[in-house]
């Protein structure tokens, strides 16, 4: 199988970001919170990307920021995914009142924009990483629920599933052998999209001052710290913004490719 150039670029960049996130401690040239230079210094041989609002090395903070941002986003998307697919599959396969109850609760949660729900919740809850992961993960699991329920419900009414039921197969066989293999590709692509959403969401919250708190650094928070410099033409705030965009676009490219592969598989069926 040939991988298109766009997907390849997406994979390389995504892989690069993950590598940097894992090995941040060894890669970053300076400590995360030490002022090591002047305020908003221009990029130089010493500070490759310049310094920030209180003279910290931006490159180092970006690298540590990658770690926090990716970690929180990954944890939240894994949570949303685990929760959403489990409940979605359960609702689709069992049907009846359980399906009704779950679907209506999700409708209710999705009747309010996620950001507003998050703001309301964060006005009460303490601000720490666990709370952030839980809030983002649970809010986003509603979308995963809808998708996985729809995908599983589409498959559950296929005649091969009916045939399996008539054959006397047990529930586990039906979910893992008949439904899951056919639901996998759209779900994998969805995971990429959920991850992007979590990155954007956590960055937005941090930018609003309601996400990751100092002394930890994350990209959204870095935009907030350096925003005042923009008025004086200091572009420090643009660097973390660019990092968010680069990560989001590269994951998008990979997810897009998986999605088109899935649909072309469908189109090729029935020869």
């Amino acid at each position: 199988m040939r991988i298109p150039l766009s997907a390849l670029i997406g994979m390389i960049f995504t892989g690069g970001f993950i590598f940097v996130a894992i090995f941040a401690h060894w890669i970053a040239p300076y400590p995360i919170n030490d002022p090591v230079g002047g305020v908003w210094e221009a990029p130089s041989a010493q500070f490759w990307l310049g310094t920030d609002t209180i003279g910290r090395d931006i490159l180092s903070r970006l690298i540590y920021g990658a770690q926090v941002t990716i970690f929180v986003a990954l944890a939240a998307s894994i949570l949303s995914f685990a929760l959403g697919t489990f409940l979605g599959f359960t609702a689709a396969v069992s049907g009846g009142w359980l399906d009704q109850a779950l679907s209506r609760s999700v409708d209710l949660m999705m009747a309010i924009p996620s950001l507003i729900v998050a703001l309301v919740l964060l006005s009460v809850l303490p601000l720490n990483l666990t709370v952030l992961v839980l809030v983002i993960g649970i809010l986003d699991s509603t979308r995963v629920f809808r998708l996985s329920r729809a995908v599983a419900a589409d498959i559950a009414v296929m005649e091969y599933v009916e045939a399996a039921k008539l054959r006397g197969e047990k529930g586990n066989w039906i979910i893992f052998k008949e439904i899951l293999p056919n639901a996998l590709s759209p779900l994998v692509a969805e995971f990429g999209l959920r991850f992007i959403f979590a990155v954007l969401f956590i960055s937005t919250l941090s930018f609003l001052g309601l996400g990751i708190q100092p002394p930890l650094a994350d990209w959204g928070g870095m935009v907030k710290e350096n925003r005042d410099g923009l008025i004086y033409g200091k572009t420090a705030a643009m660097l973390p913004a660019a990092a968010i965009a680069a990560l989001a676009i590269s994951v998008n490219l990979v997810a897009d490719w998986i999605l088109t592969r899935t649909s072309s598989l469908k189109g090729g069926r029935g020869g």
Binding site: S114, I116, V117, L119, S123, L210, A245, I249
Partner: protein, 318 residues
């Protein structure tokens, strides 16, 4: 009763029910979370006695259900209570800010809606050809950016580098309409960019969906001109999905304003909400949250209602 009226009544009733459920979630759900308003006001060092007094004073010692109905009754009569932090009347604080928010969102909608439909039409007309690819490519990259990033890019280019507009959107009472318009230009551009991509992509998909119908082929085989195919055959069927797309994206705009207002320090409802979340001023957060949710639910309901009215099968039952 005409079946369509029945459907509409059902849909509107469902919307109201949803709104009620959402208000319960915002009030009771938040109450159930760990955290204490009195503690939030007085801080960690407060004595138990002081906390107890404040709770009684705020009516926090009543059972939650009673307080919920009091709160709901207050909202219905226009009384949103007082802010914890400064004791200001919430309704009075909201009014001018809500007007500002609606002005900003309204300006963005007036530009974004026709533009998105036009671009969607062009992209659908040239589906798979270069105009489609260019439009799709640009919109795909704006979808990947969070609102605040778009905001700073726009601010840097047009506010700082070009110096065409003020980088912050300062408005004050008594400002002329044009000055006001000039002041909000940058946030409007950002909102348009953010909402345009989604709206245009969904419009394109809705139109392509209609254009691939068998009845469009029939029209082509009847020798109908391309212009008439679009006007007479595609458009009447595309209106409902496109209007639904527009409404859904206007609802999305509601969320966008929150962040954009903060970026441009625009004194409106979103900024007010974020400020009071930071201050943990729950009554304000609940009231503003309910307003945002209400607008969102209203727009979604409107999308459904238009969809029902535009459907010939429902309008002309068997």
């Amino acid at each position: 009763m005409h079946p369509i009226v029945k459907l509409l009544v059902q849909r509107i009733a469902l919307g109201l029910l949803l709104l009620l459920a959402v208000s319960a979630v915002i009030f009771l759900g938040v109450e159930a979370l760990p955290g204490d308003t009195a503690q939030a006001i007085l801080g960690q060092s407060a004595t138990p006695q002081a906390l107890e007094n404040l709770r009684a004073q705020l009516g926090l010692s009543d059972p939650p259900l009673t307080r919920y109905f009091n709160w709901l009754g207050g909202i219905l009569t226009g009384d949103l209570g007082k802010a914890l932090t400064n004791g200001a009347d919430i309704a009075a604080s909201i009014k001018p800010r809500l007007a500002n928010t609606l002005f900003l969102a309204g300006c963005a909608a007036v530009i974004a809606v026709p533009l998105a439909i036009l671009l969607g039409l062009v992209a659908a007309r040239y589906a798979g050809k270069w105009p489609d690819k260019v439009i799709s490519g640009i919109t795909l990259s704006t979808i990947s950016l969070p609102e605040f990033v778009v905001g700073y890019i726009v601010m840097y280019i047009f506010g700082v580098k070009m110096g065409w507009f003020s980088p912050t959107a300062m408005t004050f009472p008594g400002m002329s309409f044009w000055d006001r318009l000039h002041a909000v230009a940058l946030p409007v551009i950002v909102l348009v960019l953010v909402v345009l991509a989604h709206m245009m992509r969904m419009t394109r998909a809705a139109i392509l969906n209609v254009m691939q119908s068998a009845y469009i082929e029939t029209a082509e085989l009847k020798g109908v001109t391309p212009m008439n195919i679009i006007w007479k055959h595609a458009l009447p069927n595309a209106i409902a999905p496109v209007v639904a797309v527009v409404m859904l994206n206007l609802a999305y705009l509601v969320v966008g304003v929150v962040v954009v207002e903060v970026v441009f320090s625009y004194n409106a409802l979103g900024q007010y909400l974020v400020d009071h979340v930071t201050k943990r001023d729950l009554p304000v957060v609940q009231a503003v949250g309910l307003i945002f949710a209400g607008v969102y639910i209203l727009l979604n309901m409107l999308a459904d209602v238009i969809g029902i009215i535009a459907n010939p099968r429902l309008r002309h039952p068997k």
